[in-house]
Symmetry: C2
Subunit: 203 residues, 2 copies
């Protein structure tokens, strides 16, 4: 009766980050661990039961509509950030610069993990993936500040490499060095929809 | 920057159902409309900010662990229920019998809609799909009561036809006759994961 299935591949938590105040900007500071409640990460500015719609959801909502918070946790991977750094011709893209909460390793094509994938940490804390994160101009500006002349193409160079946003299914802790168990939903293409998507794009 | 895209296909709400008490069993009663809050459907026994893990999540959790409620709303389609009825050799499978909250029409292979698909109703109320619903023995027993000798194979005959579970992204109402707008996440197969899944199954 279970729908999701664990795979043998296991990831690893390489860094935990948070920032208490949104006003201090996107950059986050490293922490030893993160405490997850159903509202998100304790002490992080993106926690909360709800969030406001913004430019990301203009196809659905005007700005400022109250939505359930499904962007509680932002995750990126070492491997993808290395590739983005290579593309930007800089030595590294620090997780602090892109507002990530969790830096993972060992999961290929991390950003392409399917929606509704479950990521389970050693404490039992579990995140459910909503969507890939679309790279925007804010990290670009931060990278540009650190590496003038290299940051501004981040939105293009980080496409499908910028990680995921997820929300808390089960409370607990995420700790540096944690193994990450992965539970995948069935993977298949909804072909009826693909046809309709082509139709929608061409109209 | 938006990740989900609307398709031209539009569904329709054919029935709304709810049941105030879990003790009265799975069967739900028809209503003219449903009021959605971030906890789920007002007056339905499956609403609430959290839910307890059960047999569906034994691969991840023991029973009775508190999880965020991502099974707030159960949706099925007219077309799939007609197909299930045909397979069971009965005239119809009533939505009441399978504990559905919303009966939809006009969306082919409804159960196969991808996780994280957004379903938006006329009021602006929006659901996010978590996963397909796995058919279990409870509806089978109810159908068997109504059609002795025909219900017990429901779990097998309704596989991939039993609809979806979803949670509330935006509050509002679902009303009989509502059009349903569909916003799809990118569709693709995470091939790294498929390999690992094969590995996991064979081990």
């Amino acid at each position: 009766m279970a729908i999701v299935k664990e795979i043998s591949l296991v990831g690893r938590v390489e860094a935990c980050l948070l920032s208490p105040k949104r006003e201090t900007g996107l950059e986050k500071a490293k922490a030893n661990d993160l405490t997850l409640t159903f509202d998100g990460i304790v002490g992080d500015c993106h926690s909360g039961p709800t969030m406001l719609s913004d430019s990301r959801t203009l196809r659905q909502y005007p700005r400022g509509v109250t939505l359930r918070n499904r962007r509680q946790v932002s995750l990126i991977s070492v491997e993808e950030m290395n590739e983005v750094a290579r593309r930007l011709d800089i030595s590294e893209v620090k997780p602090e610069w892109v507002g990530a909460n969790v830096l993972v390793s060992g999961i290929p094509d991390f950003t392409l993990l399917p929606p509704s994938t479950r990521l389970m940490f050693a404490s039992g804390a579990t995140l459910i993936v909503d969507l890939e994160n679309a790279p925007c101009k804010y990290p670009a500006e931060i990278i540009e500040r650190h590496h003038p002349g290299h940051g501004l193409t981040f939105p293009e160079k980080a496409k499908h490499k910028r990680g995921l946003v997820a929300w808390v299914e089960r409370e607990g802790k995420i700790v540096m060095g944690d193994k990450i168990r992965i539970f995948l939903p069935p993977q298949r293409i909804w072909t009826a929809g693909q046809d309709q998507l082509a139709l929608a794009s061409s109209s």
